[in-house]
Amino acid sequence: MMNAPGFRFFTPQTAEIFASIAACIVPASADTPDGAGSAAALAVADRALSERPAQDRKLLTIFLSLIERLPLLRYGRPFTKLPQDKQIKVLAFLESNRWVPALRQGFFGVKTFALLGYYGHPSSFPALGYPGPRLDAPYYRVRREGEGRP
């Protein structure tokens, strides 16, 4: 399967599924219009996922596919076609599933990368009141000097 344009891990299908899940994990709201399903958050998650061990990437791909199909049994529609309130119910079922530990583990993994995508991107910082990295540190100073700026 080809990667989606600009992505190293996601295919068009897995990107759509992941974005739908991520949008439930960190939903958009009036004061923060971009949730974890945004393109910027997806790009951060994609890069981190592309650098995970091969076995983890394979398992995550399988799990995303499972999430997409699972609601067909109950709702007759794939995950990405459900309204968000139903999507949240599906994810809550996975997160707290008492019978199949792999469902809880899989959800934990997806949640982790959704959170990394959203909270790892500087666009989330203003709403947190977090100023981000110290720009007087050597990393930034060296680069400014390399660009001829003090």
Binding site: I25, T32, R98, P101, L116, Y119, L128, Y139
Partner: protein
């Protein structure tokens, strides 16, 4: 084509153990001996640390955490030059009185004495500038913790930290961008390199043998310091091979090397110091990212319930990952990020044979299950941390072990925080202190090395990291690892120069 490199001593791993061995042996370079440190991870120097969470994941083994097969727990360990000393907070604890004597007594190690190890603590502390900083290091996150403990009448103790000219930027766990944290990256390795020791980053060792090792050097990732050797397979010949790859990797390396007559104890008897983070929303700004993140701990329940509570701080992603559930509730809480106070509760676990690193189907497997005692201690600890914060005026308290997202009154803690919530995979307990797996002892049936770190039956293969520990160090193991590695290096020096 495989090239061959010849050394007198090959040190695998550049963390607290490997770095200490490298520095201690570096004086042998003046006698013409060749010593190399190989590190599987990249070489980040201070000017490479950019303080961004997604980028700095590459400092860590498997670019994040290593989950146990049970999913009870996930271990965070660094894989970069300097090892976990590059990503820890600078906490420098001496092993508690009696711990080393207990190892000596219980594991048949009469050469390993409390006095010997403690004398090394004093010398190493001086070398890494370990000291108790002044009260001016106290930021609001630390002050809230102190106030809460004092309100309850619990002891508040200050950590000894190995920092010098600290900028108090708070980014210790993503690599110190100012070089103020006096870990292996800034102290032992520069000294060893100056004396003639070679450093080979990005070199994964596939197997060790008596007299050497085989490995592969990978290209340096962009934004890191490259080594001097071209990428490709390499065969190392060495009189002594020092395995200091960290607890998750050292026993895995010995197991996959299939050394003849390797102890059946290899990989077993792990301890991890299971830990959980919890958060309190305060009325005032806490701004935990400013100032030094970890100053205080309380050992109020160390003897009775086997845990410590200490101050902590995490950046946005790690904070969000440590909250229960998903959706609007944790997002609301995160929007008060600047008002969050944070504590880490850390349990002293006991070694068990079934808790082990295994090598299965070409992969390292972490096989660890939380004991009932550890789970019970975590619940008690999470309630206690809540009491500290309500004592300091918290508006709400969030624990991964809560029946609901947050608790808003102290009297609700016992009902709201329960063992039932500790469901593997839903709540993943964390660990940053893996120990054991190559434990010292007299009996090759139940231990992997002798008191000088020499693998039973393979005296030229020597272990020098946290995996040597027969039991948990009870406290942050950094200084104990260095003292044991220093002792191991002394033994090597003696054997090479006699």
């Amino acid at each position: 084509m495989t090239r061959t490199l010849d050394y007198d001593v090959l040190i695998i791993g550049s963390g607290a153990g490997g770095g200490t061995v490298a520095e201690r042996l570096s004086k042998l370079c003046a006698q013409g001996m060749r010593i190399a440190v190989v590190e599987a991870g990249p070489w980040y120097r201070r000017e490479h640390f950019n303080m961004r969470e997604p980028d700095m994941l590459s400092l860590f083994l498997d670019r994040g955490a290593v989950p146990a097969k049970s999913f009870d727990i996930a271990v965070t360990a660094a894989q970069c030059v300097g090892g976990s000393t590059s990503v820890y907070t600078g906490v420098t604890f001496r092993a508690p009185e009696g711990l080393i004597a207990g190892w000596s007594r219980d594991f048949g190690l009469p050469e390993l004495t409390e006095a010997d190890v403690h004398s090394r603590f004093a010398r190493l502390e001086a070398a890494i500038d370990a000291h108790v900083p002044g009260r001016d290091y106290e930021n609001e996150n630390n002050r809230v913790f102190r106030q809460g403990c004092e309100q309850l009448g619990w002891p508040v103790k200050q950590f000894q930290l190995n920092i010098k000219q600290c900028e108090r930027c708070g980014f210790c766990n993503l690599g110190c961008p100012y070089g103020a944290k006096r870990g292996t990256l800034e102290v032992q390795l520069p000294a060893a390199l100056a004396a003639g020791v070679e450093l080979i980053p990005n070199c994964r060792i596939e197997c060790v043998r008596d007299g050497g090792a085989e490995g592969v050097i990978s290209p340096a990732p962009s934004g890191t310091q490259a080594g001097e050797h071209e990428p490709g397979p390499v065969r190392f010949n060495a009189k002594v091979v020092v395995v200091a790859a960290g607890t998750l990797n050292s026993s895995a390396l010995l197991l996959r090397s299939q050394l003849p007559e390797l102890s059946p104890a290899c990989g077993k008897y792990l301890t991890l110091h299971p830990a959980l983070t919890s958060f309190a929303r305060m009325e005032q700004d806490v701004r935990g990212w400013g100032g030094f993140p970890k100053l205080y701990y309380t050992d109020q329940f160390s003897s009775s319930d086997h845990y410590y509570i200490e101050t902590a701080f995490y950046f946005p992603f790690m904070t969000a990952r440590s909250l229960p559930g998903f959706g609007a509730e944790p997002k609301r809480f995160m929007q008060a990020y600047s008002q969050l106070a944070c504590a880490l509760t850390l349990v002293h676990d006991e070694p068990a044979e079934h808790n082990a690193i295994r090598w299965e189907h070409g992969r390292r497997v972490l096989d660890y299950r939380l004991s009932v005692a550890s789970k019970t201690a975590l619940v008690h600890a999470q309630r206690s941390a809540g009491r500290i914060y309500f004592g300091a005026g918290a508006l709400e308290y969030v624990s991964l072990l809560g029946k609901r997202f947050s608790v808003s009154r102290e009297r609700e803690l016992d009902d709201a925080i329960t063992l039932d919530a500790l469901v593997p995979g839903k709540v993943v307990v964390s660990s940053a202190h893996p120990m054991g797996g190559c434990r010292m002892g007299k009996d090759p049936a139940t231990s992997v090395t002798n008191a000088w770190g020499q693998v039973h039956g393979h005296p030229s293969v020597v272990v020098a990291d946290a995996s040597l520990m027969p039991t948990s160090s009870k406290v942050n193991p950094y200084l104990t690892i260095m003292a044991l590695a220093d002792r191991v290096a002394e033994g090597i020096e003696h054997r090479l120069t006699r």
